[in-house]
């Protein structure tokens, strides 16, 4: 699980162009949206694409997205339980 969390942090920093952050700046329980990393709605769409592209997970219900993108901790748990690749 720790390897997956690190991989997610690296992917998020690279794919969302969070130039000023590195892996150590993101705690597992930091909020991804709002006061945490401050991601926006376009970032949320990019995360949905990332789940599909990298892990074969298709999120179609927006409410499911809200629950999944709470933090790295929650996201990693969801991916480990639902990934198809």
């Amino acid at each position: 699980m720790d390897a997956l969390k690190k991989e997610l942090k690296e992917s998020i920093i690279e794919q969302l162009n969070l130039e000023d952050l590195n892996v150590d700046d993101i705690a597992d329980d930091d909020a991804l949206f709002g006061d945490g990393l401050g991601l926006d709605s376009i970032d949320a769409l990019e995360l949905i694409v990332m789940l599909d592209k990298d892990y074969g997970i298709k999120l179609t219900d927006p409410n499911e997205g809200k629950a999944v993108f709470v933090s790295i901790e929650v996201l990693a748990k969801y991916i480990s339980e639902h990934r198809t690749k």
């Binding site: 969302l16 162009n17 130039e19 000023d20 376009i42 970032d43 769409l45 990019e46 694409v49 599909d52």
Partner: protein, 207 residues
């Protein structure tokens, strides 16, 4: 056309160099890509605006030119709020359109990028500049084969004469792969350097 308007300041970015009012203020290694050049300038100037890194290259170029221009012009917030923006280029958003197309070319690997898609319109650059500087004036973006000083003059004069804006941010911001060229200038009634299409064309061709 005699306009009774003036050029407050102008900025040129091309060939890894940035100049303000004809004076070079930044020169970088000519081997850098545009992205590398833009990032270096951003870091050096410590702009502290993380959204910069999410922008496409066209918006980055427009952002940098406007930052240098506004730093030099040092306008009050109430003037900035009402600035009109009239920008133009040749390549529209083609540079980003290609990048977006790469994400949808392969049916077996079809993952359209929302973050790239939002920049597949050239006038998004005007939006980025407006958000950064809280500008709420009228704006327009024109695509033409080359720098069209007459078109920009007519639109600028109209905005000021009709009291839509007291200041107009004008220019040419073009990016296509690693070719880039920005020429941005601020026009208003105040100032001492007379503005006309002939004068601005001369500045464009000699800077």
């Amino acid at each position: 056309m005699k306009t009774n308007l003036n050029i407050i300041t102008f900025c040129r970015i091309k060939n890894h160099s940035i100049s303000i009012n004809g004076k070079e203020v930044i020169q970088k290694d000519s081997q850098l890509t545009f992205s590398e050049f833009a990032k270096l300038v951003y870091k050096e100037k410590a702009f502290a605006y993380p959204k910069f890194f999410k922008m496409d290259n066209l918006s980055k170029l427009g952002f940098l030119a406007s930052e240098f221009l506004f730093e030099k012009a040092d306008l009050d917030a109430h003037i900035k709020e009402n600035i009109g923006i009239v920008l133009s280029n040749k390549s529209a958003s083609l540079d980003t359109d290609r990048k977006y197309q790469e994400t949808i070319n392969d049916k077996a690997n079809y993952f359209p990028s929302p973050a790239v898609f939002v920049y597949t319109l050239a006038n998004i650059m005007i939006g980025e500049i407006s958000i950064k500087h809280q500008i709420k004036g009228e704006n327009a973006f024109f695509v033409s084969d080359k720098f069209n000083e007459l078109l920009l003059e007519q639109y600028t004069v109209s905005l000021i004469q009709n009291k839509k804006s007291s200041h107009v941010l004008c220019g040419w911001i073009d990016v296509d792969k690693d070719k880039y060229d920005a020429f941005m200038y601020l026009v208003a009634k105040e100032g001492t350097q007379n503005y006309s299409k002939e004068i601005i064309k001369n500045i464009y061709t000699t800077n």
